[in-house]
């Protein structure tokens, strides 16, 4: 950042830790940005004239006589339509070789939406993935994470969702992405020719971890611009929020804060909520735009009681799990553990009337198949019903659930009815008589 004329330059740093440095300075505002020998830093603590700065890139090589310049503003992003199709780093500077963005400068991490100005989410977001659309329908204004193990292909699934979802803008916030994954996203978006409605903010594993803390706020500030000012339907993808929380822990540790559960800062819940609660559906009177957040929280060893997934679960509206179905050798969205809390707002209302009943019946039969499988593994005899459940489950996984299947909800429902008809009698499926009458496949 260029130094402006007549700006006061401080050159006496009094303390340096791995992530922060302190100096004596006056007239400094809380949260204000500064540069320390050109490295971007932010004010995190002021005691009298003693100011502590969090240096995003880390303090390696910062000398005690480093030049410190206060910039008189909080972290901000220039927003305009020029954002579309571009890739940025955590500071909002282009990393794709293109020109700087011109537009209105907005502080990131802005205030919350007044709850009475929100509208109850009611618009369906179709992804073409049955584990989502059929069993755990997403609604605009919802926030939902994938709880995934680090070896699962969650970034591929996210990219798929991004490409298929009918959103006006898609904003990718990548935190601690491997360079390979970053290039993957870039290629997928370029090849699909959809770059013009995608904005990406990327921090890779090659960048300092503390920089990640800016990514969600950058992504959501851009999202708010499109949703509030342009009345657009915006989908925000955040991957991986576990690495974001880890960065929070690093900073709070450096600031000598007392850690709470799992070495996470005591404010983890509020910190995560500030991000996820940016998801919103605005009423028509305010333009009807929306922000939907799909995030990834990687788990360690599938443990959802760890502070990060646990706090996330209390904030988000459901969670999605990926699982490899060994019967068909493909990844599916786990129909048992996944849950979209808002699905009843659209299922059967914005989709065909039989949706809720078909969804429940299919999952119930799939559960019966899982029981039958356990029975089989334990060496018990299977009944005829058990056998049919197993075959149904295999077809159901292959033709509907597998994440590489891309069909719309009505087609999913039709396929489900066909499978019911193929393996079961109507009374075994337990669906309302009127619906069976209407949709049961005619022999």
């Amino acid at each position: 950042m260029a130094t402006k004329a007549f700006q006061k330059i401080y050159t006496q740093i009094t303390a340096i830790t791995k992530a922060t440095c302190s100096l004596k300075a006056e007239g400094v505002g809380n949260d204000e940005l500064a540069t320390v020998n050109g490295k971007l830093a932010q004010v995190v603590k002021i005691i009298g004239d003693n100011v502590t700065l969090q240096v995003f890139q880390g303090t390696e090589g910062i000398p005690t006589n480093a030049e410190v310049v206060f910039l008189g503003k909080s972290p901000s992003l220039k927003v305009s339509d020029q954002l579309a199709g571009r890739f940025f780093n955590a500071y909002g500077d282009p990393i794709d070789g293109g020109p700087q963005i011109e537009g209105k400068e907005v502080e990131i991490g802005g205030p919350s939406v007044n709850p009475v100005r929100r509208k109850q989410p009611s618009e369906l977001i179709a992804t073409g993935i049955a584990g989502i659309d059929l069993n755990n329908t997403l609604v605009s204004g919802q926030k939902i994470p994938f709880f995934a193990d680090p070896d699962q292909p969650y970034n591929q699934v996210m990219a798929n969702v991004a490409l298929r979802a009918e959103a006006d803008k898609i904003i990718l916030g990548g935190m601690g992405l491997t360079n390979d994954d970053y290039l993957y996203f870039k290629n997928v978006f370029s090849n699909a020719g959809v770059l013009d409605h995608i904005v990406s903010f990327v921090n890779t594993t090659e960048n300092p971890p503390v920089e990640r803390l800016l990514i969600p706020d950058m992504a959501l500030t851009a999202a708010e611009y499109f949703a509030v000012e342009k009345h657009e339907k915006v989908l925000v993808l955040l991957t991986d929020m576990t690495l974001y929380a880890d960065a929070l822990a690093i900073v709070s540790n450096r600031m000598d804060q007392i850690p709470s559960k799992d070495s996470m800062p005591g404010s983890l819940y509020s910190d995560l909520a500030k991000i996820y609660e940016k998801a919103v559906q605005f009423p028509e009177t305010i333009g009807g735009g929306s922000i939907t957040i799909i995030a990834v929280t990687t788990l360690s060893g599938g443990d959802i009681t760890h502070a990060i997934p646990d706090n996330t679960g209390y904030i988000t509206e459901g969670q999605l799990y990926l699982r490899r179905d060994s019967e068909i050798g493909k990844v599916i969205v786990d129909p048992f553990r996944s849950l979209s809390r808002l699905k009843q707002l659209v299922a059967g209302k914005k989709t065909r009337e039989d949706h809720p009943q078909v969804m429940n019946a299919a999952v119930r039969l799939y559960a019966d198949a899982a029981n039958a499988k356990t029975k089989k593994e334990n060496g018990f005899d299977l009944t005829n019903y058990d056998e049919r459940c197993l075959e149904f489950a295999r077809d159901y996984s292959r033709e509907i659930l597998a994440i590489d299947v891309n069909i719309n909800t009505t087609e999913m429902l039709d396929v489900a009815w066909q499978l019911f008809g193929k393996y079961f009698k109507p009374e075994e499926v337990n669906i309302k008589a009127a619906l069976v009458e209407k949709y049961w496949p005619k022999a």
Partner: protein, 583 residues
């Protein structure tokens, strides 16, 4: 008034150098440019005052001016609170401008223009004291009493009182003379510091009256009392919110206050959207008319999250002083505790377990103690029933908030992941949950009068069957279906009948959602009668098949209007089925 200057800033904790006296918990305003941010004093060391700011401190600088107000955080009490949506500091959310919350924007919580139809109760010459009823206005069909302000100490004589007529809240409606002969003017509005309990009542007996909620697993199995306290801990996804909404819709209360404390905004929006549409089962009017929502969602400032539970409780106590039955629901008290933790952490206090402040359980205890059933000074009764949810980290009930709450709340509704996974809603575990009120002789006497003497023993029998059923289920799991006698299967399925017919309830079905006490009695007698009989079975498959049919018929009854033709028809079918196998 005392003033000061900002000396230090760490997140929302600000150190202020002051030039005069300040009180603990005093409210001050810190200037940032044109705006003034509200803050509360939480620690004083010498000239240094530590204040927690209720807003973002972005851009705040050392040297900024601070003004102290001389009072603690107060709420404004008066007619017009009902059916409003406030934030944790009692700002009317609907009156705030703009889509986004602007920091430093505060407003007056009541309507100052509206004229209320006032009817005097007190007469000139009457001796009155704090909380004595001077008059009454009709607030959404509730008799809203205009009281002597709670801050008035000692006794007063009514010098003048306005005749019946229309007045705004700021007009003087009475003049009171104190013991020294000094006159005091009284309007319809008063203020009260939220952290102090309103103690203007004669006596607070142990709760003894059943508070009917229409939820079977509560009313029948573990009843809640009017003025009682309860809490609902549960991991995420176990249906805490649905259960709490069901209770707030149906419970027999005059006023319902919902404190959405640090929870999802979309859930609050659901309440905003639904309540104005829902019919109040008791009055036939809209539910929103008797509801107040205090919304401080998880993304709103943390310090006002703490304030929000106190704001709600104070408003509840205010309505209790009018002789009304108030139900206060807080979702979730864990978020409040977390707000305390964040502050304690910034103050660099030595932490207790899980980094919560050491006095957490004392704070929780003092808060729950503000609920209760009271005899007012004029002999009328009022109550504040408090039901809080707890969101235990990782679903583990051995954590400080759950343990601190368990010590003080008298009812415990344990939501269980396993029940939720099996879609057995409400997912309240019938064996782990308890209501201490069933042990109170006062309650026993009350319920014996309301229903009969056989009721509590019958409920106890029901729990014994459930306990037995659970034990047998474990044995069946180990020994296999063939490994236990047929009797065991019978016992197990009797417990299943209780589970499916009494404990489970469909909150989304129009009829089953609300089950009045009369109907609960009928169903429990029916189910216990089924359990008490012996049956004639050859093998366990018959048992399963038979009891599944019983369950189905009983469930159909739950879905029908009570005593409708359809209902009686299912009853007849059930009786026929029972006579087939009963010995």
């Amino acid at each position: 008034m005392t003033t000061g200057k900002v000396k230090g800033i760490i997140a929302n904790l600000v150190t202020v150098a002051v030039d005069g006296p300040v009180a603990q918990n005093e409210i001050c305003y810190i200037s940032v440019g044109e705006t003034k941010l509200m803050a509360e004093v939480i620690k004083v060391i010498g000239d240094n005052v530590y204040a927690q700011v209720f807003e973002s401190t972005r851009g705040l600088k050392v040297g900024n001016a601070v003004e102290f107000t001389g009072h603690m955080l107060e709420v404004t009490l008066g007619p017009g609170l009902l059916s409003r949506n406030y934030d944790g500091l009692q700002n009317d959310l609907d009156k705030l401008t703009g889509v986004f919350l602007k920091r430093g924007e505060y407003n007056f919580p009541l309507d100052q223009e509206k004229k209320w139809e006032f009817k005097p109760i007190a007469k000139v010459g009457d001796k009155v004291e704090a909380a004595s009823w001077l008059g009454e206005v009709d607030e959404n069909h509730q008799p809203h009493k205009i009281m002597v302000p709670f801050v008035f100490e000692g006794s007063y004589t009514v010098k003048t009182i306005k005749a019946a007529g229309q007045y705004t809240i700021n007009e003087v409606i009475a003049v009171l003379t104190d013991a020294e002969g000094k006159d005091h003017e009284v309007t319809m509005v008063q203020k009260w510091p939220v952290k102090k309990a309103i103690l203007a009542y004669r006596e607070k007996p142990r709760p003894f009256k059943l508070l009917e909620t229409g939820v079977r697993t509560i009313d029948t199995a573990n009843p809640l009392c009017e003025g009682g306290t309860g809490f609902i801990p549960g991991p995420f996804g176990t249906g805490k919110t649905v259960l709490q909404h069901a209770i707030s819709k149906q419970a027999e209360a005059d006023i319902v206050i919902i404190a959405a404390c640090g929870e999802r905004a979309n859930e609050v929006v659901e309440t905003f959207t639904e309540f104005p549409e829902l019919d109040d089962p008791h009055t036939g009017r809209k539910l929103m008319e008797r509801t107040i929502i205090i919304a401080n969602t998880s993304n709103m400032p943390v310090a006002s999250r703490e304030a929000s539970v106190y704001t709600s409780m104070t408003i509840a106590e205010y309505y209790r002083s009018m002789g009304l039955r108030v139900l206060l629901m807080a979702d979730s008290t864990s978020r409040w505790a977390q707000a305390l933790r964040e502050m304690s952490n910034r103050l660099e206090e030595l932490p207790g377990q899980d980094a919560f402040p050491m006095d957490l359980s004392a704070i929780i205890g003092a808060f729950y103690a503000r609920a209760g059933y009271v005899y007012l000074n004029n002999g009328a009764t009022g109550s504040v029933t408090f039901l809080g949810t707890v969101s235990p980290a990782g679903g583990n009930l051995k954590e400080p908030v759950t343990e601190g709450t368990k010590k003080v709340a008298r009812c415990f509704y344990a939501l269980e992941q396993a029940r939720a996974d099996r879609k057995r809603y409400p997912a309240v575990n019938p064996i782990d949950s308890y209501s201490k009120y069933v042990e109170y002789p006062e309650f026993e006497e009350y319920i014996s009068g309301l229903i009969d003497k056989e009721w509590l023993p019958m409920v106890n029998d029901m729990k014994t069957y459930l306990q037995r059923g659970k034990e047998i289920q474990e044995q069946i799991n180990i020994l296999g279906d063939d490994g236990v006698p047929v009797d065991y299967h019978e016992e197990f399925w009797k417990a299943e009948v209780i589970d499916f017919v009494i404990l489970q309830q469909d909150a989304f079905d129009k009829i089953d959602a609300v089950c009045p006490l009369e109907r609960q009695q009928y169903m429990l007698r029916l189910v216990m009668d089924i359990c008490k009989h012996d049956y004639d079975f050859d093998n366990f498959l018959d048992v399963i098949d038979y009891f599944k049919r019983i369950i189905n018929l009983c469930k159909q009854m739950n879905y029908c209007e009570f005593h409708s033709a359809e209902f009686e028809d299912y009853r007849k079918k059930l009786d026929e089925l029972l006579s087939e196998k009963q010995l």
